[in-house]
Symmetry: D2
Subunit: 363 residues, 4 copies
């Protein structure tokens, strides 16, 4: 990770501001010969796109991707793949109020303190709009995984929204695509919709927990110490706007367990050793075990709300602010495809890293 | 982060196995002219050292550090600082039982799957012994902070052990150094001691939550996107052995908050803008705000326990294992100084990064 | 350096193929608050542009730069600066002949061996067109230097073309901009023009030596061992297409000197120590001394020539090839602004690195 | 490359000063399962060792290597390999004279300007002693190449010393190990010995040109743009103390060639395409072609000479200096094994990089 780049062999660099002409991602180090076209990326963009329903921002962005390099006759060439996404529905005027006021929970204050200058239009670089570039890069990573480790499947979903939680016993993956919350529990959808609608109408917002699972990832991905697979996932997820916590497997709950409870015991199965539980979340000593890789993260409530909050101006006066513009009442919803994209990028990178050091993409 | 290195300008590379002749850390990129001698590092090593009391491993390691390079006449020269720590109390014989058995919760299985070879003696590279190198590097980082940002103070402590929690209203920082748990709540110490003693005697172990706070860190540390200060902290803490979750500020609890609750409102104070709460944990948009930087992580229970657990052998037979050797009933205790060291290293790196890009060490 | 990125704090990533829709550079880590607009980059693009005279490729590219991010109201914001350059005069049809034939001296053979696929249109990624992105990045670097170290001046020029050399005693910097060869010796221009015209008309090409000098760079830039300033310059220059050798100061000629001759003796001058010669090329132990930084590199003759050369086809048949298309008879001419750009990028990076570690941009 | 580290997957970090207790190298990212013991490294150390004959420094260093980590039961484990070399024959007293005087050609002046402090004992970190760590790392790289690409052979030799050159038509590789100059031309040895002895006795020194050739390296190593194989070799060689120029294939001489002369034409051979010449030095477009990789570098004359040279003191007074201590009259001699080591490290890194991105170690 370096500034606006992440990954070591599969490297993603993103650029662009919320209300500039465009944003984009440069994916470097992609293996050659991978089938790739714009549709293969677009399909993931659609899931993150604003305006899909009343629970997401009404900014109208087609988020159409253009591949400007690195692909020739439908296959990657091994050179940098540049994916461009034009901004279409900029309304910088919406942001005139925040030229001088620091929005609580936003990066306004810290950007100005650090850089002495900031592009205040919709948060500029710190806008959630940046995550579109991540989803585009994730589309490239998925194309790589599809060929190098086709058995891997990556799935994200919400398990909690504000005070409401999905019930794990009722989890049904096929439900995820059927509701606006990407929640795998059909029974809670009605209640969640009502709850979020209420918050939205009252000018409020709410947080969420997202879980991303990678199934059938090979054992052997990761590194012993600082580039542990879990350390990379933690950085990747925490780097998403508004994320405040990251968990692997039992997560923060591991603190409450005893060693006897926590041990994922092993027995021989038909195809080799099997684990009888997965408190480890599929990662032991920083390296994948072949179990499901389970990563969870918390997204704070959208900071842009229509309820007035106290703040100060750039010139040091007390004031109040109501953040107009078009915002998500629960930005966690659109974080689901973003979390999946980050998982895909991290796995693609570690597959290549493992292949480099050990000679295989995992075992 | 790359394999066994972390940091971008203040770079730490560690090496060494639990039962080899020595372990060590190479700190590269340290500013020149910083006062440094072995005592300034040793004082932090003492806090992590095993055998301080009955709640930590009885392995007897003086953990005496030797500075082999990068310091001349008591000051750093700007060249790599190599800190060596000899292993004194190796007992590889204790580990004969694990040559062929995978210890649940340990890296035995994944190292072998990845590398096809492993140093089984006490976990080799994946042993908690590696964290001594981190504490040594943290000592160098503290020396840097002492001169570049002397107002910063870093303090770690336990807030939870298994099912027991400290009470935040009773927090008293001066208690931390007075009890074996580094818990800032004097009233719980007796109960925690009894609880852990019971677990220890029954051949069990338990998890913990550690909180590390950096006070008076300057605003402006961090980067907008992937090297966000919180992303780096998440990677740094998650890279510590046995850590399963990392939180910043409100952490996973942010999911349960509304936007109105979560907003850290601002008012003008005597010396500039002040925040009226700290759900953000001192970081907005990946950049420090000048508030306390609050990072929390969960450590799973020690996997090495004296209660038999089911596992398999290298050759594919079902078996049971009891992990002998000398182990911590709650490895979270010794994770406190390790978490502090990682915070110090991350802050030192970001101070230098900020100075590089912006010209100051923060504002 | 990593694949398509170079620099550590001032980081340049480029993307794009010769006959794709566009090429570009992402400059990350740029200090905030630097005055920058498209004209400040365009002025350097003009010097590298093809078609300036009959001695450079007749491909018609306006090479107009568009800044898509990282600049707000005329100043850099500290976020990634994306500079886009559209390709206007693609003629992929010119390259139909090389679909199946390996052009001697080009990357056709090695790209195919490595990647199993290649964008054959004009060399794709390996085209000299890529150097336009470097000049754009160099424009950003110059803007940084202008504010952080305004006294630095960077000047490139040709000292040799084929068998003809400029005479050092006649060097006159003001001549450089007055002739098509950027040669600082007015007396040779006529002879050089005749010589190159002859080669061009006979379907041949020729190599060149370019020297790039940075005057008044501060002392203290560089690192002791692997990121020595000279090692970074060597990598930067050698990474330019067609470069086969790099020299610092006395360069390869240092081999013929004795220690007595080579010693750059010192005497006290009005403003401190002065060197009485500059065999070192301004760099001692990898660190700038405050003298002129002198870097020289050799560019091989353009490989695309109209004279038939023997080669083989992709399918393993012997054949001959004549490389049509629009090519430079001496590609070294256009390498002059490219070498200057690389010098500017390396110096900007080391200024920031030095500021990061030592706290100043040099002394 | 970063400060004291080089390589991307096969990463070498070195530490240590000339007159400190020890120096060493940490090799990270080494593939697991590679046969390695201390003898396999020691054999290369012997070639660089001082005091082998009257033409090298009389400092008596056994340069015995100790492997402290990363190897278990004779094979690498995939974790960092730390190689330690103790300094035995320090004589800091020899350097009392240079506490206050800047030695011309040395890093004394620039280190002090940059860092404000320097370990003056024998040059500290900037001493040629550091190259012992490189040779140790090169030994590890050779062990990797032996298993991953056993056909590769790497050979370095001198082609020029001062004004004397070896005759290419008489090159006989078997001569290299038979004379103190590693020169592959038996007929020049006597003349070279007399010449160097004369220089040595007169308190002078001389430069040299070293050529390092890697035979039978696979095609496909390298990257298109900034991590070109030649760019990495240029940085690696230029980072060696006293190197002032680096060439690939025709090198600086390429400037004097025409395109017709320079084209390495191709014909089909028994096992596929063959090149009829090697002006490219085995690298096209930054990627190896399967031909011999030919890298050449110039080493300046040893700066430490017994003839008085003019200089200034730290306090700004004019003075003269005679550099006592034990020095090589032609430091280029001992640069031969160092250049070989750097070639081995660069190739090992690119083999792993290629395996990571493309899935093979070359073709």
């Amino acid at each position: 990770m370096s500034f606006n780049t992440f990954g070591w062999l599969f490297r993603v660099s993103t650029w662009g501001e919320s209300h500039g002409p465009a944003i984009g991602a440069v994916v470097d180090g992609c293996p050659p010969g991978i089938s790739l076209d714009e549709n293969m990326i677009q399909v993931w963009m659609e899931r993150r796109k604003p305006g899909r329903n009343k629970f997401t921002s009404q900014r109208r962005e087609p988020d159409t991707v253009e591949i400007l390099s690195g692909v020739f006759e439908g296959r990657t060439t091994g050179t940098p793949i540049h994916v461009l996404i034009r901004n279409r529905d900029q309304r910088p005027r919406d942001y005139s109020d925040i030229v001088d006021k620091f929005r609580p929970g936003h990066a306004d204050f810290t950007y100005l303190r650090k850089y002495g200058i900031r592009d205040y239009r919709g948060g500029g670089r710190s806008s959630a709009r940046e995550t579109a570039s991540r989803v585009a890069a994730g589309g490239v990573a998925r194309a790589v995984l599809r060929e190098l480790a086709p058995e891997i499947s990556i799935k994200g979903y919400m398990t909690r929204m504000g005070t409401l939680t999905a019930v794990r016993d009722r989890f049904d993956e096929s439900e995820i695509e059927r509701n606006p919350f990407w929640v795998p529990d059909a029974e809670v959808v009605g209640e969640w919709a009502e709850y979020l609608d209420g918050l939205r109408k009252s000018g409020n917002s709410v947080g969420a927990v997202i879980e991303v699972v990678a199934r059938k990832a090979p054992a052997g991905l990761g590194c012993p110490i600082y580039r542990k697979l879990d350390a990379d996932l933690a950085a990747a997820m925490m780097s998403i706007n508004a994320v405040k916590g990251v968990e692997i497997g039992a997560g923060m709950g591991a603190a409450a367990l005893t060693g006897i409870e926590n041990a994922d015991e092993m027995r021989m199965g038909r195809d080799g050793p099997e684990f009888m539980s997965n408190n480890a979340g599929g990662i032991l000593g920083g390296i994948s075990s072949g179990q499901d890789i389970v990563c969870r993260f918390a997204v704070k409530p959208t900071s842009s709300i229509l309820s007035p909050r106290r703040t100060v101006t750039r010139n040091g006066n007390n004031t109040e602010i109501v953040t107009k513009g078009r915002h998500d009442p629960c930005v966690g919803i659109r974080a689901v495809p973003v979390g999946e994209a980050m998982m895909a990028c991290v796995l693609a990178d570690h597959l290549l890293l493992n292949r480099g050091q050990v000679g295989t993409g995992g075992t």
